[in-house]
Protein backbone atom coordinates (compact mmCIF):
# COMPACT_ATOMS: atom_id res chain seq x y z
CA UNK A 1 0.00 0.00 0.00
CA UNK A 2 1.38 3.38 -0.92
CA UNK A 3 1.79 5.56 2.15
CA UNK A 4 -0.65 8.48 2.06
CA UNK A 5 1.72 11.35 2.65
CA UNK A 6 -0.06 13.93 0.50
CA UNK A 7 -0.96 17.09 2.37
CA UNK A 8 -4.69 17.51 2.63
CA UNK A 9 -5.90 20.18 0.25
CA UNK A 10 -9.26 21.70 0.90
CA UNK A 11 -11.76 21.52 -1.93
CA UNK A 12 -13.26 24.73 -0.65
CA UNK A 13 -10.95 27.61 -1.53
CA UNK A 14 -11.05 30.69 0.69
CA UNK A 15 -12.49 33.86 -0.71
CA UNK A 16 -11.39 35.69 2.38
CA UNK A 17 -10.04 34.03 5.50
CA UNK A 18 -13.02 32.39 7.12
CA UNK A 19 -15.31 32.58 4.07
CA UNK A 20 -15.32 29.67 1.67
CA UNK A 21 -16.35 29.74 -1.93
CA UNK A 22 -18.82 26.90 -1.73
CA UNK A 23 -21.84 26.52 0.45
CA UNK A 24 -22.51 23.62 2.74
CA UNK A 25 -24.76 21.81 0.29
CA UNK A 26 -22.32 22.40 -2.56
CA UNK A 27 -19.52 20.93 -0.44
CA UNK A 28 -21.72 17.95 0.36
CA UNK A 29 -21.89 17.25 -3.32
CA UNK A 30 -18.20 17.99 -3.95
CA UNK A 31 -16.97 15.67 -1.26
CA UNK A 32 -19.08 12.89 -2.64
CA UNK A 33 -20.90 12.28 0.60
CA UNK A 34 -23.92 11.28 -1.50
CA UNK A 35 -21.83 8.52 -3.06
CA UNK A 36 -20.62 7.27 0.30
CA UNK A 37 -24.19 7.12 1.51
CA UNK A 38 -25.40 5.37 -1.64
CA UNK A 39 -22.70 2.75 -1.21
CA UNK A 40 -23.86 2.14 2.31
CA UNK A 41 -27.59 1.93 1.66
CA UNK A 42 -28.66 5.54 2.24
CA UNK A 43 -26.96 5.94 5.60
CA UNK A 44 -23.49 6.98 6.65
CA UNK A 45 -21.30 4.01 7.46
CA UNK A 46 -20.97 3.46 11.14
CA UNK A 47 -17.83 2.23 12.71
CA UNK A 48 -18.62 0.69 16.04
CA UNK A 49 -15.91 0.81 18.63
CA UNK A 50 -14.04 -2.47 18.73
CA UNK A 51 -14.63 -4.41 21.89
CA UNK A 52 -11.76 -3.57 24.15
CA UNK A 53 -9.35 -6.42 24.80
CA UNK A 54 -9.76 -7.72 28.30
CA UNK A 55 -7.18 -5.91 30.39
CA UNK A 56 -5.08 -7.97 32.72
CA UNK A 57 -6.25 -7.50 36.30
CA UNK A 58 -3.94 -5.05 38.01
CA UNK A 59 -3.72 -5.19 41.77
CA UNK A 60 -3.78 -1.77 43.39
CA UNK A 61 -0.23 -1.00 44.54
CA UNK A 62 0.49 -1.52 48.25
CA UNK A 63 2.71 1.54 48.46
CA UNK A 64 1.93 5.07 47.45
CA UNK A 65 4.64 7.69 47.80
CA UNK A 66 3.80 10.33 50.41
CA UNK A 67 4.42 13.33 48.17
CA UNK A 68 3.60 13.60 44.52
CA UNK A 69 6.67 12.60 42.58
CA UNK A 70 7.28 14.92 39.67
CA UNK A 71 8.07 13.31 36.37
CA UNK A 72 10.92 15.03 34.58
CA UNK A 73 9.92 16.47 31.23
CA UNK A 74 10.69 14.20 28.34
CA UNK A 75 13.66 15.49 26.31
CA UNK A 76 13.16 14.73 22.65
CA UNK A 77 16.19 16.59 21.38
CA UNK A 78 18.32 14.81 18.86
CA UNK A 79 21.98 15.63 18.66
CA UNK A 80 22.89 16.68 15.17
CA UNK A 81 26.27 17.67 13.74
CA UNK A 82 26.69 21.40 13.08
CA UNK A 83 25.53 22.47 9.69
CA UNK A 84 28.49 22.52 7.35
CA UNK A 85 29.11 25.82 5.61
CA UNK A 86 28.50 25.70 1.87
CA UNK A 87 32.06 26.87 1.26
CA UNK A 88 33.49 23.77 2.95
CA UNK A 89 33.49 20.70 0.71
CA UNK A 90 35.76 17.67 0.88
CA UNK A 91 39.11 18.73 -0.50
CA UNK A 92 38.83 22.40 0.40
CA UNK A 93 41.94 24.08 1.72
CA UNK A 94 41.16 25.57 5.13
CA UNK A 95 43.07 28.11 7.16
CA UNK A 96 43.19 27.22 10.84
CA UNK A 97 42.71 30.31 12.96
CA UNK A 98 43.78 29.39 16.44
CA UNK A 99 45.56 26.80 18.49
CA UNK A 100 48.89 25.20 17.88
CA UNK A 101 48.52 25.21 14.13
CA UNK A 102 47.17 28.70 13.66
CA UNK A 103 47.75 30.06 10.22
CA UNK A 104 48.37 26.67 8.70
CA UNK A 105 46.70 25.81 5.45
CA UNK A 106 45.20 22.42 5.66
CA UNK A 107 43.09 19.99 3.60
CA UNK A 108 39.55 19.20 4.72
CA UNK A 109 38.55 15.54 4.54
CA UNK A 110 35.13 15.11 6.07
CA UNK A 111 32.80 16.18 8.83
CA UNK A 112 32.57 13.82 11.77
CA UNK A 113 29.44 12.87 13.65
CA UNK A 114 30.25 15.30 16.44
CA UNK A 115 30.24 18.17 13.94
CA UNK A 116 34.00 18.68 14.02
CA UNK A 117 35.94 18.71 10.79
CA UNK A 118 38.50 16.01 10.02
CA UNK A 119 41.55 17.63 8.58
CA UNK A 120 45.08 16.71 7.55
CA UNK A 121 48.17 18.79 6.67
CA UNK A 122 49.26 16.59 4.91
CA UNK A 123 51.77 15.88 7.65
CA UNK A 124 54.82 15.86 5.42
CA UNK A 125 54.02 19.23 3.96
CA UNK A 126 53.15 21.31 6.97
CA UNK A 127 53.28 19.11 10.07
CA UNK A 128 49.56 19.02 10.72
CA UNK A 129 48.46 15.44 11.44
CA UNK A 130 45.00 13.96 11.08
CA UNK A 131 43.16 16.24 13.41
CA UNK A 132 39.74 17.49 14.37
CA UNK A 133 38.96 21.15 14.05
CA UNK A 134 35.92 23.20 14.89
CA UNK A 135 34.21 24.86 11.96
CA UNK A 136 34.14 28.24 13.69
CA UNK A 137 37.93 28.34 13.93
CA UNK A 138 38.51 27.84 10.26
CA UNK A 139 38.41 29.98 7.12
CA UNK A 140 37.51 28.13 3.95
CA UNK A 141 39.47 29.19 0.90
CA UNK A 142 38.34 28.67 -2.64
CA UNK A 143 41.26 26.34 -3.35
CA UNK A 144 40.24 22.72 -3.70
CA UNK A 145 42.34 19.59 -3.68
CA UNK A 146 41.18 16.44 -5.38
CA UNK A 147 40.67 13.81 -2.66
CA UNK A 148 39.08 11.21 -4.85
CA UNK A 149 41.26 8.31 -3.79
CA UNK A 150 41.38 9.00 -0.08
CA UNK A 151 39.65 6.50 2.19
CA UNK A 152 38.37 8.29 5.27
CA UNK A 153 35.77 5.78 6.33
CA UNK A 154 37.56 4.50 9.40
CA UNK A 155 38.04 7.85 11.12
CA UNK A 156 35.42 8.92 13.60
CA UNK A 157 35.33 10.67 16.95
CA UNK A 158 36.24 7.53 18.87
CA UNK A 159 39.53 7.34 16.95
CA UNK A 160 40.53 10.62 18.55
CA UNK A 161 39.38 9.83 22.07
CA UNK A 162 42.01 10.11 24.77
CA UNK A 163 43.28 6.80 26.03
CA UNK A 164 42.29 6.19 29.63
CA UNK A 165 45.45 5.36 31.54
CA UNK A 166 45.14 2.51 33.96
CA UNK A 167 45.91 3.62 37.47
CA UNK A 168 49.04 2.01 38.82
CA UNK A 169 49.35 1.53 42.51
CA UNK A 170 52.43 3.51 43.31
CA UNK A 171 54.76 2.45 46.06
CA UNK A 172 57.36 4.93 47.19
CA UNK A 173 60.15 3.32 45.26
CA UNK A 174 58.08 2.90 42.14
CA UNK A 175 57.06 6.54 42.04
CA UNK A 176 60.00 7.71 39.96
CA UNK A 177 59.93 4.77 37.61
CA UNK A 178 56.26 5.24 36.88
CA UNK A 179 56.85 8.83 35.82
CA UNK A 180 59.39 7.80 33.24
CA UNK A 181 56.99 5.34 31.64
CA UNK A 182 54.32 7.93 31.14
CA UNK A 183 55.87 9.52 28.06
CA UNK A 184 53.30 8.89 25.42
CA UNK A 185 54.54 7.73 22.07
CA UNK A 186 52.24 7.84 19.12
CA UNK A 187 51.08 4.30 18.34
CA UNK A 188 52.42 2.97 15.08
CA UNK A 189 48.90 2.32 13.84
CA UNK A 190 48.14 6.02 13.86
CA UNK A 191 51.33 6.81 11.98
CA UNK A 192 50.36 4.32 9.31
CA UNK A 193 46.89 5.80 9.03
CA UNK A 194 48.45 9.21 8.54
CA UNK A 195 50.80 7.96 5.85
CA UNK A 196 48.01 6.05 4.12
CA UNK A 197 45.85 9.13 3.81
CA UNK A 198 48.70 11.42 2.91
CA UNK A 199 50.17 9.20 0.22
CA UNK A 200 47.10 9.61 -1.93
CA UNK A 201 46.79 13.30 -1.15
CA UNK A 202 50.41 14.07 -1.97
CA UNK A 203 49.97 12.71 -5.46
CA UNK A 204 47.03 14.96 -6.22
CA UNK A 205 48.75 17.92 -4.60
CA UNK A 206 51.88 17.57 -6.67
CA UNK A 207 49.81 17.62 -9.83
CA UNK A 208 48.88 21.22 -9.18
CA UNK A 209 51.71 23.75 -9.61
CA UNK A 210 52.68 25.65 -6.44
CA UNK A 211 50.05 23.93 -4.31
CA UNK A 212 52.69 22.22 -2.21
CA UNK A 213 54.48 25.46 -1.32
CA UNK A 214 51.09 27.06 -0.76
CA UNK A 215 50.15 24.43 1.80
CA UNK A 216 53.49 24.60 3.55
CA UNK A 217 53.29 28.37 3.96
CA UNK A 218 51.42 29.90 6.85
CA UNK A 219 48.70 32.47 6.42
CA UNK A 220 49.24 35.79 8.15
CA UNK A 221 47.89 39.28 7.94
CA UNK A 222 50.37 41.73 6.50
CA UNK A 223 50.45 45.42 7.09
CA UNK A 224 47.55 47.05 5.34
CA UNK A 225 45.57 43.84 4.83
CA UNK A 226 42.01 44.21 5.93
CA UNK A 227 40.29 40.90 6.59
CA UNK A 228 36.87 42.28 5.86
CA UNK A 229 38.02 43.13 2.35
CA UNK A 230 39.89 39.92 1.63
CA UNK A 231 38.42 37.32 -0.65
CA UNK A 232 39.52 33.90 0.48
Amino acid sequence: MAPSTKTKVSRNPDLIRGVGKYSRSQMYHKRGLWAIKAKNGGVFPRHDAKPAAAEPVVKPPKYYPADDVKKPLANKRKARPTKLRASITPGTVLIILSGRFKGKRVVFLKQLASGLLLVTGPFKINGVPLRRVNQAYVIATSTKVDIAGVNVEKFDDKYFAKEVAKKNKKGEGEFFEAEKDEKKTLPAAKKEDQQGVDAVLLKSIECVPDLKTYLSARFSLMSGMKPHELVF
Partner: protein, 100 residues
Protein backbone atom coordinates in the same frame (compact mmCIF):
# COMPACT_ATOMS: atom_id res chain seq x y z
CA UNK B 1 44.46 39.01 14.44
CA UNK B 2 43.60 42.55 13.66
CA UNK B 3 44.94 45.37 15.73
CA UNK B 4 42.58 47.64 17.55
CA UNK B 5 42.64 50.35 20.15
CA UNK B 6 40.20 50.45 22.95
CA UNK B 7 39.36 53.05 25.39
CA UNK B 8 36.23 54.93 25.92
CA UNK B 9 33.34 53.41 27.70
CA UNK B 10 29.86 53.67 26.37
CA UNK B 11 28.59 56.79 28.02
CA UNK B 12 26.22 59.66 28.02
CA UNK B 13 27.25 63.10 29.11
CA UNK B 14 27.53 62.46 32.79
CA UNK B 15 27.11 58.69 33.14
CA UNK B 16 29.38 55.99 31.89
CA UNK B 17 28.59 52.31 31.52
CA UNK B 18 31.77 50.35 32.08
CA UNK B 19 30.41 47.00 30.98
CA UNK B 20 30.77 47.96 27.32
CA UNK B 21 33.93 49.39 25.81
CA UNK B 22 34.45 51.07 22.49
CA UNK B 23 37.08 49.62 20.19
CA UNK B 24 38.60 51.26 17.15
CA UNK B 25 39.66 48.52 14.71
CA UNK B 26 42.39 49.47 12.27
CA UNK B 27 41.20 49.77 8.73
CA UNK B 28 37.52 49.76 9.58
CA UNK B 29 35.96 53.07 8.77
CA UNK B 30 32.28 52.57 8.12
CA UNK B 31 29.34 50.94 9.81
CA UNK B 32 28.94 48.47 6.91
CA UNK B 33 32.48 47.20 7.27
CA UNK B 34 31.84 46.38 10.92
CA UNK B 35 29.38 43.61 10.03
CA UNK B 36 32.29 41.29 9.19
CA UNK B 37 33.67 41.74 12.70
CA UNK B 38 30.46 41.21 14.57
CA UNK B 39 30.82 38.33 16.97
CA UNK B 40 34.57 38.10 16.61
CA UNK B 41 36.49 37.57 19.80
CA UNK B 42 38.59 40.33 21.22
CA UNK B 43 41.49 39.99 23.65
CA UNK B 44 42.96 42.58 25.95
CA UNK B 45 46.41 41.41 26.96
CA UNK B 46 48.38 42.91 29.80
CA UNK B 47 51.35 42.12 32.00
CA UNK B 48 51.46 41.61 35.71
CA UNK B 49 54.23 41.05 38.18
CA UNK B 50 52.88 37.83 39.64
CA UNK B 51 53.00 34.78 37.42
CA UNK B 52 49.68 33.14 36.75
CA UNK B 53 49.68 29.71 35.08
CA UNK B 54 53.38 30.11 34.37
CA UNK B 55 53.17 33.43 32.56
CA UNK B 56 53.46 37.12 33.34
CA UNK B 57 50.90 37.85 30.64
CA UNK B 58 47.20 37.92 31.35
CA UNK B 59 44.21 38.25 29.11
CA UNK B 60 40.65 39.45 29.30
CA UNK B 61 38.50 37.99 26.53
CA UNK B 62 35.54 39.69 24.99
CA UNK B 63 33.64 39.95 21.79
CA UNK B 64 32.55 42.53 19.27
CA UNK B 65 28.86 43.17 19.74
CA UNK B 66 27.72 45.88 17.38
CA UNK B 67 28.85 48.99 15.61
CA UNK B 68 28.91 52.27 17.46
CA UNK B 69 28.01 55.17 15.23
CA UNK B 70 28.74 55.50 11.53
CA UNK B 71 32.51 55.54 11.28
CA UNK B 72 33.57 52.03 12.14
CA UNK B 73 33.90 52.18 15.90
CA UNK B 74 32.71 49.03 17.54
CA UNK B 75 31.23 48.10 20.90
CA UNK B 76 32.81 45.22 22.73
CA UNK B 77 31.81 43.40 25.87
CA UNK B 78 34.38 41.62 27.95
CA UNK B 79 34.11 38.82 30.49
CA UNK B 80 35.01 41.35 33.13
CA UNK B 81 34.97 45.08 32.70
CA UNK B 82 38.19 46.53 31.38
CA UNK B 83 40.27 48.46 33.90
CA UNK B 84 40.54 52.22 33.40
CA UNK B 85 44.29 52.03 32.95
CA UNK B 86 43.64 50.13 29.70
CA UNK B 87 42.07 53.11 28.04
CA UNK B 88 43.93 53.89 24.86
CA UNK B 89 45.76 50.58 24.82
CA UNK B 90 46.10 47.86 22.24
CA UNK B 91 43.49 45.19 21.84
CA UNK B 92 43.61 42.15 19.56
CA UNK B 93 40.59 41.42 17.40
CA UNK B 94 40.67 37.79 16.35
CA UNK B 95 39.41 36.33 13.12
CA UNK B 96 37.36 33.66 14.87
CA UNK B 97 34.51 32.59 15.20
CA UNK B 98 34.67 32.59 11.46
CA UNK B 99 31.83 32.53 9.00
CA UNK B 100 33.74 32.40 5.72
Amino acid sequence: MVKGRQGERVRSKSNQYPNTSLVQIEGVNTKEEVSWYQGKRVAYIYKAKVKVSGSHYRCIWGKVIRPHGNTGIVRAKFTSNLPPKSMGSRVRVMMFPSNI
